[in-house]
């Protein structure tokens, strides 16, 4: 049901620019106003969310340790540096591996129950599909974003040309097929399929999960349609996008309506992004179980709200309480008076 709602909602979103531009001729609104507004929302919203997280302190050092600690004798007990870091550099590497290679997801396994010769068996199998397709999706998305920079920059930086060249290196078809286009669709469809096919996942999935998937599928599909089928006028589009980048707004005529659909969906994504789970992009950098070294036994970690007024039940009170018994058991007393007990007092 949640999937269906999300799909319908994305369809609805497609119709808005179709009507708005196709019938209403609101080219400026859809070509300039909406994308600019969405971009501003994205930037401000993203910054606001990061700021809001950052405002709360990290009172305790709580890394999840994924391997051998830094021992008193590191030669005998070899530290697992990237999974149980103790200094800034090791932690940086741990974070880099997490963010660039999805290391935790790479650990993924799946548990299953079996009966072997009448005995219960819990088996754990490696399950790397989610890791693989998540990686495909995210890297394809990154390459696509880099490729799109050519529309906003003049002269075009070398890495944009480089990404574009590599992405089309197989030289299939005309216009040249970008592998990232195929891979992002493959990644998205897998993520969607997984969500629908696995009963456990279906059970926990919300509109918040399906909507971004369908939205990004819509963006990818409209982009592919523009490039390979509608063969839109890229020169005209670059005029428009350069206008956006330089605040020198200009909307050339004769841009296919599919472009406006694409831009509108991207605008929705940008505006939705800061208020959604997609903020894991920013959040992962702040995750205290990953971005902290396991060094709170070695160095002092400060809790800004640590309350110095919290004191233990004092030894004096304890001795007063149990003095007579302690004396009888031959335990030393700080105050010999306590041996008498407090009954009389």
């Amino acid at each position: 049901m949640n999937a269906l709602y999300s799909l319908l909602f994305v369809f609805l979103l497609v119709f808005i620019p179709l009507f708005g531009v196709g019938l209403g001729h609101l080219n400026t609104i859809f070509g300039v106003c909406i994308p600019m507004t969405a971009f501003v929302i994205f930037i401000l919203g993203f910054a606001y969310r990061i700021f809001k997280w950052g405002k709360s302190p990290v009172p305790f050092s709580i890394p999840t340790t994924g391997g051998q600690q830094y021992a008193y004798d590191p030669e005998t007990f070899k530290q697992s540096k990237w999974d149980n870091p103790t200094n800034g550099f090791q932690t940086f590497v741990r974070m880099a591996l997490e963010i660039l290679t999805f290391r935790s997801l790479f650990r993924n396994s799946s548990a299953s129950l079996h009966e072997v010769k009448g005995e219960p068996v819990v088996a754990y199998a490696s399950a790397k599909w989610l890791w693989l397709f998540a990686l495909l999706f995210h890297y394809s998305f990154l390459v696509i974003v880099i490729r799109h920079l050519r529309l906003f920059l003049e002269p075009i930086p070398f890495f944009v040309n480089g990404a574009e060249f590599m992405d089309g290196i197989l030289q299939i078809g005309a216009p040249v097929l970008y592998q990232s286009d195929l891979l992002i669709i493959a990644g998205l469809l897998f993520l969607l399929f997984r969500r629908l096919a696995d009963a456990k996942l279906r059970y926990i999935s919300l509109v918040n999960d399906y909507f971004p998937l369908f939205l990004i599928i819509g963006i990818a599909a409209s982009g592919i349609y523009m490039r390979y089928y509608a063969k839109v006028d890229v020169i005209a589009i670059k005029e428009l996008t350069m206008g956006l980048a330089t605040f020198n707004f200009h909307v050339p005529a004769n841009i296919d309506v599919s472009f406006y659909v694409h831009v509108f969906l991207v605008s929705v994504l940008l505006a939705y992004f800061p208020f959604s789970k997609l903020m894991h992009l920013g959040g992962v950098f702040l995750s205290p179980t990953r971005n902290m070294p396991n060094d709170s036994r070695i160095r002092h970690h400060v809790n800004p709200w640590n309350d110095p007024n919290i004191k233990p039940h004092s030894y004096e009170a304890y001795e007063k309480d149990f003095g007579p018994m302690m004396a009888e058991a031959g335990l030393p007393l700080d105050n010999p008076e306590n041996a008498k007990g407090t009954e009389e007092a």
Binding site: E98, V121, L130, D209
Partner: protein, 546 residues
Amino acid sequence: MAVPKADELFKSIDYTPPATGWMETPVDFSPGNWCYPAKPEILKSINFPNPREWSPEDEDWKLPPNWRDIVHQGFVERLEKYRSLKLFMDICVRCGACADKCHFFIGSGDPKNMPVLRAELMRSIYRKDFTLAGKILSKLTGSRVMEEDVLKEWFIYFYQCTECRRCSLFCPYGIDTAEVTMMARELLHLCGIGINWIMEPVSNCNRTGNHLGIQPHAFADIVEFMVDDIEEVTGVRVKAPLNEKGHEIIFITPSGDVFADPGIYTFMGYLMLFHYLDLDYTMSTYASEGGNFGLFTSSEMMKKLNAKMYAEANRLGAKWILGGECGHMWRVINQYMDTMNGDNQGPQMITPKNPVTGTVFHNAAATKMVHITEFTSDLMKHGKLNLDPSRNDHLRVTFHDSCNPARAMGLLDEPRYVIKNVCNNFFEMPKGTIREETFCCAGGSGLNTDEIMEIRMRGGLPRGNALRYVQQKHDVNMMACICAIDRATLIPLANYWAPGVEICGTHELVGNALILPGEEQRTMDLRQEPLPGFEDEDDDWTPPNA
């Protein structure tokens, strides 16, 4: 609420979620599904709010009239105090990688035991109270209004999480359900909802110095009994100093080691080791608890209980602290102690240095506290111990990594080093169930209580099944661990899933192997069971038909 037989229970596990959505699926409040609530006099003794008699089975939980406001304000406060909470409420993408990593889910199939859904129980309220989308598109975005049913559901499911952090290892964003559970439990406490199995130890620990409420004279007696038993086995009378001033080291271990079988054998191992070394140390009855059930209650209570360690080290003039085998105790020491109470270290405290080998424990420079397996492995490495591992030859040993030393510290190889030095037969359980991926005993975070035995046995399936594997493959008959809760909880777990395997602490094995100067020939181990070759000693009984 008899627990079903193991194979029946196993067959009953079904991973198919119910037909109704999780917000509509009612919670089962029949006995066996919850831990007994904290008694009012216990809550009063530690000044916790809303002490009263109540039962989870009742319709009316006797909440304070303004409980909604209390929970909301408490939530606001904690979002401001903990970045972890704020972040973990926001960034989950519900990828489900955590789902089958939780021992309670693996053993129950209850979707609310998937870490992601456990956290959603709280996120749904967060979204409603603190996000715009949640306020307007309630149902679609998985938000809901805080009702009594929700609070009750929290009580059930946040006391079906052992804060073992296995899920956080697999989460691509490191979302730690233990953090969520801790916050949920704090919010429940604000309304006077807690369990007796946690709050009574907290109260005891505060006043008498240990969870079990053993008073100082009784504590001294018990230690004396153990000294007697050691003499019985070895012929050597070891010293066991208590509350003495002017020693270099104060030794603190969980009180479970003093009180309960088989922890006592571990405790005997400590005493024998210290006697062997003629260690300049003392123990304390005031700080006679290494464990800290405050960790399962609130950050304030955790700090208050932990503060005794430095306070007592200062009073007795100890230079550093040696800590015994305990799981969550070491999470507190490694991740919280210095932050909370480091300011209270006296000037006499120094970076720990092993007086026998001269090794300086730089990795404990801030806390001034060393784990006993670090200490012992250092002695072994320097050849300072005279050991006869063959005295453990009747044992075929495996090692259970306790959750907290594994995933909140990384103490993985030190205990193995100790065991391998004192045992000739050591076998690892399968990959994926040990080291950082270890499975919980299903009784951690204060859930080691008997009224939820079926839940514990279900949650114990992954550990029990891995144990069963090495039992069948390698004839393993002993599972060693470094946790006092494990030493209590793994016994019923092993009896249930791998009958015939016993549980011991690592230093029980050390005690068996350690050759004390002047000792008599050993004919039995610390459990006073005959060693191989001495089975017939003092035994007039002959088998029938022999």
